[in-house]
Amino acid sequence: MSADATNPQELTVGHLPEGAEVQQNIGQRRRTGRIWQGIFLASIVFSLLALLTLILDVANDAFGLVATESSVDVAEVTGGRELSALSQAELVTIIEANTSGRVQARLNREQPLAERSQEDLVGVIEIEVLKSSLVGVWPLWESLTQRPAIEAAVAEKNPRAQIVWRSWINPDFLTSPMSSVALNAGLRTAILGTLWVTILTALFAIPIGVFAAIYLEEYADQRTWYNKAIQTNINNLAGVPSIIYGMLGLAIFVRVFEPFTSGAIFGAGSGGDGTLNGRTVIAAAFTMALLILPIIIIASQEAIRAVPNSLRQGSYGLGATKWQTVQNIVLPQALPGILTGVILSISRAAGETAPLILVGASTFIVSDPSGPFSKFTVVPIQIYNWTSRPEQEFKDVAAAAIIVLLVLILIFNTSAVLLRNYFRSKRVSL
């Protein structure tokens, strides 16, 4: 670092900071570092905010004020008494007296009047007899903060309307079947459909997936071309979009296998609305099983691979066969990891929509699925249908359904994470 002899101020070669420059340089670098650290942290905060916003948005739509108006006066129908004071039998009588045979037939098809709850029957009367209709729907935030303004607006436009606080998610919602009227819409059919499809999917996918993983990790000679092909194939399948699986399901399970999936070869009856085809629970379950199979296989493979080899050696050294070693030593050790992967896959299957659209989840179905050969709908499909409708009240119903779905997924995922953490703390480290 020589300065020119004639001009000590000019430096002819580069130099590192010295003296006061050092402080300045470091200070600036640290400042920049802190700013960017803040930016990195901000992106994580953004994710949290996004999650929070989503939850609040759903909640905003799931609760709020509604204004309903009836064209027929309550007193006329009940002789002055409150609807809520009437018994079920009396309510059924009112319905039968005040509605056409066609309406009653439809109601009975959805669910026999005699079996309905009191609240349900009140709801039916409000809609079918009193011709109650929604004239206004408000989200939660607005309902809380602008009540007076809402009441004023309603008083002006629909003076006969009543304003009531409504939670779109309520026990009736969970137990009623579908309806074309938002106030009556229920999730029961979809919840049962989800249960049926998910359980059947699990039954198909879990044993096959775990066995395939055992084969690949313990039995297969990984150097042969065919075993490498199987492994590559599984990795590829895990990345295929879910809608493609739906197309596979449509073409094969719904169409080619129709005699089987419709239940015709077993002599099953119709799906409830007169037609018999392959768009059934079991076709959906096959499709979803194929979808989650690669995920289960890969997760199980990782869990099996994580079992220390010394344990296997100890077992073989005692004269155990391969299956004895797998069954008694490897699987028990790998079980927590396998279980976590399985639970997460099932959770994924419960939330999938696109493949089921293709496989033919019914858009409007009122009878509960009664077996693997029934027509069906699932919760995510209902959310899709309701969200697609332009009316705000259907968006609110969708929000209620979303809450149900999110709770379900949350239960699945939380148990998977807890399981993983619990077993991680008890891991054998050899």
Binding site: N233, I252, G351, T387, L405
Partner: protein, 320 residues
Amino acid sequence: MTDQARARAEAAALSRPAEEVLDLRKRTRVGESVIQGVLFLCGILSMFTTIGIVWVLIQQAWLFFGNPEVSIIEFLTGTQWTPEIGSFGAWPLITATLMTSLIGMLVAIPLGLAAAVYLSEYASERARSIIKPILEILAGVPTVVYGYFALSFITPLLRNIFGNNVVNIYNMAAAGIAMGILILPLIASLSEDALSAVPNSLRNASFGLGATKLETATRIVIPAAASGLAAAFIIGISRAVGETMIVALASGAGPNLTANPFDSAETITGHIARISGGDLSYGSIQYSSIFALGLLLFTITLILNILSRRLVARFREVYE
């Protein structure tokens, strides 16, 4: 008896009499063979899935392109998709797919990478144990919920900001943003894996030369993890391209060739979902058209996934 003597006696009692005949012949273990067969079948099943997908897609696409109304050239280059009048140019669908995926990646990649950098280079163990589960929750939200979110929150927000006449009720931007939020955790997690795989010795060398954390992270770690990161981004793109529900709900219900993100347009996946949700008669040209689109989609995502895995393999070679 002393311990030793007792041990001796026990050992004596245990050992085998030497005159016993030694039979070491292979036993036919039927159980083992059966089990091995069953396991092998399960392994093979995945091949059937792939064969099934390829067969189904190609067979129907063959029918589709065999139809006199349709030509492959038009499919790949045509700009109008109106099945009613026999126009089957896929470009409007392709551009919509590209646009929504692009917007999604513009959201997911910077944010995901930033989150990954924070998690891998800055965060304490405790912070990581809190943040990672939250990201996992975000990733676990079903896509249909994100579609709802796009429609009921993001679109009104965009309309508020940019004006009702600029932003359509159904628009690609809202769908893209929601997709970005959906994919963000995936990119964050995969990127974090890539960054963590960079050996600590590199970081230590950088610190030893007097570098700050930021300088180490941006000039040493990220470049070292480059192919792993690229692989992560490509997986994200693949995910975005194949995503259906968000675009089906929020992006629009009709093919539209446009470069304006605030316009409504239908993507490949959205179109397939809409058409098959309605009445679809088997054997109609509409039916086979969705399989042709499916084949296109499958090919794109397959190429992306293979590319991504090659990158990961190359990345691993360097560090293991």
